[in-house]
Symmetry: C2
Subunit: 312 residues, 2 copies
């Protein structure tokens, strides 16, 4: 029965977890939401003002033959790394380089396998930006305990951990987060070699490597790549590598060619309602609400901007 | 520089996390391990007696054109579901069916898309086996707090949560765990439609669906499948589905054709040393040890049995 496929295991659970499906949400802002809300209801009840468009100055496009990966950068957490990745993109550093590593349940990584690519205006290495001061940081905390940090939540819609005693904050390694590879020297990174998390959150990397952004669209283009058979998932043969057509700063791409996305702002009632709907699922399928939410089990809602217009 | 590829970002971190690399470990049981150990040292110092072979009576092979996926079943937690999946395999129920769903950062699912496959000796549905009594259960606890449960640890080397107050225990949805799909009725599952976790642990599913085993080899054959473009990641066109050649109980497969694996027993000193090595990484690359370990960030070491012989 094809019908069975429309309500299979855990069907209701993530019906709204895919950006494509968010984009398909009907506008329902005028309807008073019933309590308790499902994730679908929380998003359907959101107002256009609760969504913010991606800033093209802080967005880069990783262009592969299979399509475009949209990466939102996090200048508040890694200002120098973000500026350097943009400088590298603007001088065409990544164009023609390759994805060189795909390790199952861990990371996909790209860069210059030969280390011969010249760098003109950008820096090859930078001082580490593992963490920053927590003070003056916008922060929407999650209420539930975290295994690794005293507090977790969202800042600029990025997953963040905070240590109030130390007064420090840092981005955490959730699925889709993008970081800058380094060697044993903490200051040996800089953004010439980037990786993205494709598996269960490797939180032990937090504060050990500079995270600088996250994939907001096109993850499946990276997560489905054949895994490398060499140590650490590196591709053993050059022909196994996946060519990078280009990396561009969205602001440098003609508007007509940009991918217009918007993110549900973490400081909004609809974001709070969405978090609560994920902590306790009220879809009919569920029998035992978790009553908890792991920071990395909270993908921030992203949708095509067209949906926003439609919702007006 | 190719050399750079041998120590890239987070290289040291998971040098030992892949079964293939475990199998390649040199025997070092006779060397007194230094403290503190790295993961590599903890495994290298293990003795052959600390490893247990997979029980072919509780192991099934999912055979795809791309290769074999080895699934260890968990009869202690889902006895009736395990027996039913084996009965379904023995009557050839899965042979010629397909993988019908691949949702990014969530699950891959297989079964009968048409619901027409007859069942002869097995059951189509079974009463839920979401949890069990914690009493008399072998349990190796992890010391760190868990977001979702009062206690977590390992039982038969499966990731488990325990609620001492309720006296209940249940398998948890870590990467690679295998469960039985159901509709809204909790007793509508049974094993005819199975799913495997391919992303960040969807722990909100714990105690809502029957988990019955885990993939111990061949995850990359499932995690790299093209994602479905239909709702919930279902393949929209029949030709997109991935054919299943067969599902066999290992005990029914000639010994020469079996995949001989062994698992590091959770009740051993080397398992404890490995856990500690993951809680606080001592590889040179690390600067800030996490001091914590998430239950789903602790893949149980698995290796080819050949390595055991070599280690003797």
């Amino acid at each position: 029965m094809i019908a069975k496929l429309t309500r299979p295991v855990i069907a209701a659970v993530i019906a709204l977890s895919a950006p494509a499906l968010h984009a398909a949400l009907p506008a329902a802002a005028e309807q008073p939401p019933k309590k308790p809300l499902t994730m679908a209801e929380a998003l359907a009840a959101s107002t256009p003002a609760e969504w913010r468009p991606l800033d093209p100055r802080n967005t880069v496009y990783l262009e592969l033959a299979a399509g475009r990966v949209v990466i939102e950068l996090a200048p508040r957490f890694a200002p120098h790394y973000v500026a350097n990745v943009e400088a590298l993109a603007r001088e065409g550093y990544f164009d023609g380089l390759s994805i060189i590593r795909a390790q199952d349940n861990y990371v996909v990584q790209w860069g210059d396998p030969d280390g011969k690519r010249p760098i003109r205006t950008a820096q090859r290495t930078l001082a580490a930006e593992f963490e920053r001061a927590a003070r003056s940081l916008p922060f929407t905390p999650l209420p539930d305990p975290d295994t690794y940090a005293p507090e977790v939540g969202f800042s600029d819609e990025f997953p963040v951990a905070v240590d109030p005693k130390l007064g420090r904050a840092w981005l955490v390694h959730c699925y889709g987060m993008v970081g800058a590879g380094r060697d044993n020297d903490v200051d040996s990174g800089g953004g010439t070699e980037l990786y993205v998390v494709i598996g269960h959150a490797p939180r032990h990397l937090d504060r050990n490597v500079t995270l600088l952004g996250r994939v907001v669209q096109g993850m499946e283009l990276l997560s489905t790549l054949p895994r490398g058979t060499g140590p650490l998932g590196f591709y053993e043969q050059p022909e196994q590598r996946v060519p990078i057509k280009s990396v561009r700063v969205a602001a440098d791409v003609p508007e007509a060619q940009r991918t217009e996305l918007e993110v549900l702002r973490a400081d909004t009632p609809s974001f709070a309602a969405y978090v609560e709907a994920r902590r306790n699922r009220h879809e009919e399928w569920f029998k035992v609400p978790a009553g908890r939410l792991d920071i990395c089990n909270m993908p921030v809602p992203v949708r095509a901007r067209a949906a926003a217009s439609a919702a007006k």
